[in-house]
Amino acid sequence: MATMLAESDAPTAAADLTVRRAQQGDVAAFEKLYRDNVDRVFALCLRMTGDGAKAEELTQDVFVRAWEKLATFEGKSAFSTWLHRLAVNVVLGGRRADGIRIGKVFSTDDLEAYETPGRPPDPGQAMDLERAIAKLPPGARTVFVLHDVEGYKHEEIAELHGLAVGTCKAQLHRARRLLREALER
């Protein structure tokens, strides 16, 4: 997993305990895991889909899937890292199964999803970038979010997508060019 993901994911004893309780079927413990991780999962879903409503659905799917798969979590990485990887798989799987949505045009309503509590007090530049990311073509957007925002390496993204590394690089190049054009003020 990319360094960027691992840095702040050092598991703590309390978090370990919460995960163990959830693995034993404690719904309250799982709700705690949800509360601790939902913002990051939602951000990933939102950026990868560019669609607020779809991101909500996928976020719910991620946590339901996590509950179903919780027994397979062995604690070798932080729970948040495991969950993040699961979220990427759910989003990519959802896109493959729901091909029609890949071409969905980003509507202005969806931009409201970015304007939630917890955003920086002066989002300005970041908001412009969020909007520009949301308007990228799906393939370019996914690669940009995973590589430049989430810190995945090309090899990991290629494996997740089932693509050649060269294709990923081409998508990233395209995404960066489109973003720079969009951000020219």
């Binding site: 719904v27 913002d39 976020t59 919780l70 027994a71 939630t116 973003l179």
Partner: protein
């Protein structure tokens, strides 16, 4: 290295992903090329902006209720939409508007219609389950087996390696559901917190809808209200069934899905 070759490698160069030998060659070119220098600066500026984006974004609404409703359910995901074909025949669905030649219903109307099909389907399934649960002459009738009871052996795991982890649950031996603090409680009781969240969300949306009511066409308001009454009836039916069988996960799941449908209908109506 030619300018074109350097340009092709600037993305990797800017984020330090080139092998050493190639990096040195690109570096030499960039030092003498104003265009490539500007290009590298722009890429690095974009990378800095991307790295500075917040790692988390709070969803606009609390999603836990919808998740919790699915956790108490069997390992099958969400309320199935496969049933409505048969169910629709059993219950009348009120169309949103007469279909005119060449007229296509707006997206929100289709979404609401889909939600209604789901609700009507769940209502029909509820009736079927309740009928199945009626005492039969000759002995008790078991409910459809539930794959895993989270309280008994951990969370439901699809395709779990240990088939013994899954055990059937029948109405004659109701299995409690793990609640907060591990206290055993019925499926219906475990759903109550999620139900309160749904009710809060619905009240908020209904309040928001009130402010838009004046802008909506009277026929739209009338149809919306009529369809909301169908959903409310389905909720009441599921709740009544759960009062009689509070351990039924199928009924709990349907109640959650019906609340979810109502939230979706109201959200779409507010967004019109």
């Amino acid at each position: 290295m030619t300018h074109e070759h350097a340009l092709e490698r600037l993305d990797d160069f800017a984020c330090g992903e080139l092998p050493d030998i190639e990096r040195v060659r690109v570096q030499r070119h960039v030092e003498g090329c104003a265009e490539c220098q500007a290009e590298v600066r722009e890429i690095q500026s974009l990378l800095a902006e991307a790295a500075a984006l917040p790692r988390g974004i709070a969803p606009p609404r609390d999603l836990w209720a919808g998740i919790a409703a699915r956790l108490e359910a069997p390992a099958t995901p969400v309320l199935v939409a496969e049933e409505p074909a048969e169910a629709v025949e059993e219950t009348k669905v009120i169309p949103f508007a007469p279909v005119r030649r060449g007229w296509r219903p707006p997206t929100w109307a289709l979404q609401i219609a889909a939600a209604l099909v789901l609700v009507v389907g769940s209502s029909a399934i509820t009736s079927r389950i309740v009928r199945q649960q009626q005492p039969q002459p000759g002995g008790p009738v078991a409910l459809t087996p539930v794959s895993v009871n989270p309280a008994a052996g951990g969370p439901a795991v699809q395709g779990a390696a240990d088939p013994a982890a899954a055990r059937p649950v029948s109405t004659t031996t109701p299995a409690p559901v793990a609640g907060r603090g591990g206290t055993a409680q019925t499926a219906f009781a475990a759903f109550r917190p999620a139900e309160r969240s749904y009710q809060t969300a619905i009240a908020d949306l209904q309040q928001a809808l009130e402010t838009k009511r004046g802008e909506m066409a009277p026929e739209t308001v009338e149809t919306l209200e009529r369809n909301l009454r169908i959903i409310d009836a389905a909720i009441a039916e599921s709740r009544a069934a759960l009062e009689k069988d509070p351990n039924s996960r199928e009924l709990t799941q349907m109640l959650g899905a019906t609340y979810d449908a109502k939230v979706k209908v109201l959200r779409r109506a507010v967004e019109i």
